[in-house]
């Protein structure tokens, strides 16, 4: 009887240590996780794409304009979003010239349908006015947008994102629709690096 109890106790203690180890690595070092949603097309597919995130960039440490990041959604801390940084603190951003057209789909991040506010910033304003609406990104915040601008819920709706919500930077992705070796996107399950695509026009 005692030997059975001891075996169970040992298994349990090993399990706890292993789970906590994985959890700590996921939180502070590296995470490999699934992404869903159309907002990052064509960089990331809507389904079956897995990303490699480096947690060294937590809290926006060392993040630059053009980086792909994972962050907690400001309007819903249970969900995480994957976006690209398109404005750093102090930058002046043209909010969105296309705001006039009310083409706002509902995006699915995780498994919840999101409801958009009645009137996203500047929606009811004149067309000319939406061309003129600029925002200065505050200290400690970044401006994030999805790569698929017409189907993304991002800073244009929930305003600048506090850096404290950034959980990591995405450096690479795998596509599990691809074969194990020699797919069209790259070797090893469509492995490809996700790079900073920012072009400084100055």
């Amino acid at each position: 009887m005692t030997t059975i109890a001891r075996t169970w106790g040992k298994t349990f203690s090993y399990a706890i240590r292993a789970v906590c180890f994985v959890h700590i690595v996921h939180n502070h070092v590296y995470e490999f996780t699934e992404t869903r949603g159309e907002s990052m097309l064509p960089t990331l597919a809507a389904t079956n794409d897995y990303v490699h995130a480096i947690k060294k960039y937590k809290d926006g440490r060392g993040c630059q304009i053009g980086d792909c990041i994972v962050a907690v959604k400001p309007s819903d801390p249970d969900h995480r979003v994957c976006k690209r940084i398109t404005g750093m603190p102090g930058d002046i951003i043209l909010v969105d010239p296309s705001m006039k057209s009310k083409v706002f789909g509902s995006e699915t991040v995780g498994n919840e349908k999101l409801h958009l506010p009645e009137d996203p910033i500047g929606c009811s304003e004149d067309y000319d006015e939406s061309f003129d609406s600029y925002i200065k990104v505050p200290k400690g915040h970044v401006w994030v947008t999805g790569d698929n601008l017409s189907h993304s819920l991002d800073s244009r709706t929930y305003n600048a994102l506090p850096m404290g919500l950034i959980k990591g930077k995405i450096v690479a992705a795998n596509d599990f629709n691809e074969p194990f070796w020699g797919g069209s996107k790259g070797n090893f399950w469509g492995f490809r690096k996700i790079e900073n695509i920012y072009v400084d026009e100055k």
């Binding site: 906590c20 700590i24 809290d59 907690v72 400001p74 309007s75 819903d76 801390p77 200290k139 404290g164």
Partner: protein, 183 residues
Amino acid sequence: MWQPLRSLLGDMSRSYGLRLSLVTLSWVPVVMTFNDDICYIARVDGSSMRPTLNPDESASSTDWVLLWKFHSSKAQCLNRDDVVLFKSPLDPSKTYCKRIKAVQYDSVLTRHPYPKEVVQVPRNHIWVEGDNVFHSVDSNNFGPISNGLVIGRVVKVIWPPSRWGADLKLATGRHDILTAKSD
């Protein structure tokens, strides 16, 4: 061929010190997980929560508080008049300790630096202010903050011993700042 390896492994399993240090090392992630996600002891600096925390002027009496972190960013766990620690929205490396004055969908009467007189707190955001109203950098400076920035809720003052059982609702800052409640 295997003899040296076998004897080495035998030595390792017999070496009590090595075994002990490996076992200790394997528990480090468990402790870290506990501190990250469940419970933590934090020091509160500054005068913005006076008189509730750090009531004396002298620098020797810095309060240490017990912080409950589990599910702390869930909207149903954040109530009005709770004291919380959160990452500063202006500088993520800083941590602020303030009192929640309003939760999501509440309407708040703001104070001087804020540009609007009345503001509605958005979904999954909170309005935070210090008890020491005039020496506090709070939501009146940076606006409502996302629940995701909350690190944990202050449960108890645990150090210094003379402050055990201190009332966390001794003073609650400004009164009657809600013009409409969400519920």
